[in-house]
Subunit: 556 residues, 2 copies
């Protein structure tokens, strides 16, 4: 079987100018980055202000397992399939982080015949957006330590600095560090740590900003820490929001590429979905909706994480609604959610599948709670048996759920035609009653309770002593009217990663809050969520190489 990169290297890409022309873009609307990548103007939303929006299709999934559910691949495949049935569709995805690419995954741009290209570029530096975010983040961090070193006019308490440096690398040795050692020429000693770039508030801001002005406003509202009197210190107090916005002036422009079948794809922004909100940028999604009749976009991990945040955070910040949802499931991942191990997946096991259906059922209920029409997509794997597929289809029919078998990895858009037809039909015929899970006026406690009840299916929430103290303080600051960004394991609907399937009667423990006032949400941390991943024993980087004439190998 060919690898993703081998398939990618055999593809024929159109010049990006052709893709831009197919979207009726003029030369002022975009800039080339090489021959197959482009940056779109961040002013297209203003230009097309009065043009009606295309339909937005959100792709989400069951709870992920190591078996993989192929959500990005289905997203790309569905975009290709919509074009195949004569619709003008655009795909909107997140940018991969170099950390996981070099660590475990070795690539994150779809797979097989449903990839975005050039996958080598997209998986490496692409157009530099993540690097710009890293720079802006670290300039701010240096300005904070420099402010203290140069006299500390703002009286920043070095023990209460919340803003961390970042790196787009999986580097566990930077999780907990001490900086500023070595005497008076080397800053003020304090405990610190690095996050991965995609977990930074600046990444979240880039993805939630509606334009450059909004970006600067949000940056100026970042709380970097507290004074000795425990008053919040904002970026605007340091007067550095202008320089940071300047560093992000190109990163805010969405990136245009194409799929293996030359379907336009906008890839922009990439916050993690466990610690951050896990969606591509608002500018990208809304620009895509101006340029196409259908936008297929993705939110990270299962519907409890990415989709909930898409629907409660991103739609609010961008003032828009999706029109339908695709819930991706695989028979392998359902069987794992049904309790069997990865080694047993190749054998037919209807009982395990049956047990795992509960997980799909919960995510369906979640989407129903949001009032959105949906289609279940069964993403085909070679090991699926006829009986298993028939069981799953029958289960959907019994429940009156729209379902489509997709084979987009092996067949590209052709393998997603059934899904494309069903989603178009669903949008055309279903009623939509979109509502958020919580109101902004709800207290932070109520917001979290509503998420736990209606999205996770748990029975209650406990707050640590620290979290309770923070709730009090946030209320005083007027921060309790912001949405909540839940930081939770992706493996379980609960905060215990070993509870697969559909756990019930569980309680979620909120350990700590982190204010992302610039991004515009309060992060609620459950369990031990790492904001800096580590590398595995054999990192994917060890397989990578580039030959003397420039051919790339080993980038999965």
């Amino acid at each position: 079987m060919k690898t993703d990169i081998e398939i990618a290297q055999e593809a024929t890409l159109k010049p990006i100018a052709h893709i831009a022309q197919s979207l009726n873009l003029t030369t002022d609307d975009w800039e080339p980055y090489g021959h197959t990548k482009a940056k779109l103007s961040d002013k297209l939303l203003t230009k097309y202000e009065n043009k009606p929006d295309g339909k937005v299709i959100l792709v989400t999934a069951i709870s992920p397992t190591p078996a993989g559910e192929g959500k990005s691949t289905v997203t790309v495949g569905l975009g290709q399939a919509l074009n195949k049935i004569g619709k003008k569709a655009i795909i909107a995805l997140r940018e991969p982080s170099l950390g996981p690419v070099m660590g475990i995954k070795g690539g994150a741009a779809g797979g097989g015949y449903s990839q975005v290209l050039p996958m080598e570029e997209i998986n490496l530096h692409f157009t530099g957006d993540l690097h710009a975010i890293t720079s802006a983040n670290n300039v701010l961090a240096a300005m904070i330590d420099n402010h203290i070193h140069q006299g500390n006019k703002l009286q920043i308490d070095p023990r209460r600095i919340e803003f961390k440096r970042v790196m787009d690398v999986n580097d566990r040795a930077l999780r907990e560090i001490v900086v500023g050692l070595g005497g008076p020429l080397k800053g003020i000693p304090r405990q610190d740590g690095f996050n991965i770039t995609v977990a930074s508030e600046i990444m979240a801001i880039l993805c939630l900003a509606n334009d450059l002005e909004d970006l600067k406003k949000r940056i100026s509202n970042i709380v970097i820490g507290y004074t000795y009197n425990e008053e919040p210190v904002y970026v605007r107090d340091l007067e550095v929001e202008g320089a940071l916005t300047l560093l992000l002036k190109d990163a805010i422009k969405p990136n245009l590429v194409q799929t293996i079948e030359n379907t336009p794809a906008i890839i922009h922004g990439g916050p993690f979905a466990n610690i951050a909100h896990g969606c591509n940028s608002i500018i990208a999604t809304k620009t895509a909706a101006k340029l196409g009749d259908y936008v297929v976009t993705e939110a990270g991990f299962g519907a409890d994480l990415g989709a909930e945040k898409f629907l409660d955070i991103k739609t609010r910040a961008g003032d828009f609604e999706p029109d339908a949802v695709v819930i991706v499931a695989t028979i392998r991942a359902l069987k794992m959610n049904g309790g069997i191990s990865k080694e047993q997946l190749t054998e037919e096991n209807i009982d395990a599948l049956k047990a795992g259906m509960e997980n799909l059922q919960k995510h369906v209920e979640t989407i129903q709670h949001f009032g959105l029409p949906f289609v279940v997509a069964i993403n085909k794997f070679p090991t699926d048996t006829k009986n298993e597929v028939e069981y799953l289809k029958a289960w959907c029919d019994e429940n009156n759920y729209q379902v489509a078998l997709t084979d987009v990895w092996a067949k590209g858009g052709e393998g997603g035609v059934e899904l494309a037809e069903k989603i178009v039909q669903t949008i055309d015929t279903s009623e939509k009653n979109f509502k958020h899970v919580y109101e902004l006026e709800d207290s932070l406690e109520t917001k979290i309770e509503k998420i736990v009840h209606n999205v996770y299916g748990g029975k209650g929430v406990e707050f640590s002593t620290q979290a309770k103290k923070q709730l009090e303080f946030y209320k005083q600051q007027g921060w309790d009217q912001l949405p909540v960004c839940m930081a939770k394991t992706q493996y379980s609907l609960s905060d215990n990663p070993t509870l697969l399937g559909r756990p019930r009667d569980f309680t979620i423990t909120i350990r700590e809050f982190r204010p992302s006032i610039g991004a515009g949400f309060i992060v609620a941390l459950t369990g031990d969520i790492m904001t800096m991943p580590g590398l595995p024993k054999k990192p994917a980087a060890l397989n990578m190489d580039v030959t003397d004439d420039g051919k790339i190998v080993g980038l999965f």
Copy 2:
């Protein structure tokens, strides 16, 4: 008076495609990055293998002072002037580092009417080369700590890791840190520190590599530290050179831009000249020599630092020779070298100028020692008096030195015509007897003694106990046949930054060596050379902003 950025924003840039066409490049030879930047193929040197090389003009300077000598501005102005007098000239410069841009300088792309454009892009992320170097560097660093964490098969001694993480930010708090705190999930605790990206060995390697193959070979030869048995550990032992080369596959391609007068400029690579070798890349300089009849290129700081390393390190790695040298001096900087303070510079002071001439004289002697013809360029400042200019010209005439007054900041190429004519004449008529200051077969001690005698004008060298021990070890490893990269203050010919003018009878103390086996040189550290700068009390970043419609202000 208009600021640099105001002048830059009034300029009319040609589409980069026009600049590429003017160099007879086909579409396979370059890729656009936006409308006014491009990356050239790294294969142009192979394509033009049999084409004769253009003349290479190296621009260097007297010892720099806070008064500024405008070396980059003269380099750009001379390139423009050569085109004005009908020569086909290309400029080859270094890429600015974001650290100093945000810190003190606020920009580094020439000045006035002798700038490279788009200066906003060049000064910020440009085409992402420095970010790619930062990534490659930090992936390697993470792989080292991960290797130890995962069992340490190579038996790397955590106390003897030499390879540091980098950031393209001035951040003194990262000079000395402790990483790996927090228990078994967070790596192995050890003392560490960050360098600025431009001081990294990977930056030096990118600048000294002749092609992608050479780049990979040099990366595999980086010594990252030592085992418990004090054996060197190379990148090739970690088997990560393929992934690092992959991360640098685009960074190795030279960047094409234009000056304010549309003269082609190649800007590529930017190692610091105090700690590293301070020249743009070999690929850029040699590609420029294939595309133009004259290449004007610059080496960092005074002739004791950048030029010495250009002539002893870069020419060896690239197997080429320059054809002539321009030594830039300003009356202001000469007067400061003559002993007066910055505040007294606006008044005429022939005595101070006279005293300062010694500094110019020493740098002239250095270039003569290398056997290269030269022209002295007096870079005009508004405060220069007629008497001062006449004194300086007369001094050059008396000594039989070619001299030209340049006014390229205010007048662009027109202000450099005299210099252009004199440098062309000098190349056409002078004899060149280029020789290095030392032979590769010389011991490291002898190499350094020769530099101190013939370049710095000092009387001797002392080695610390540590340095002596290292010399012994390097000899055993066969590393003593590499060139030396001196890390020394730029402010003085000696290793004491307060000794201006032409100090004599001084001794240079070598505190420590650092092996850059991948780059292919041994760094000799004198005094307290910082490899991570700090921010000043009022960083340049505080003045920077971008308006809602994208206009940039405050980038000097």
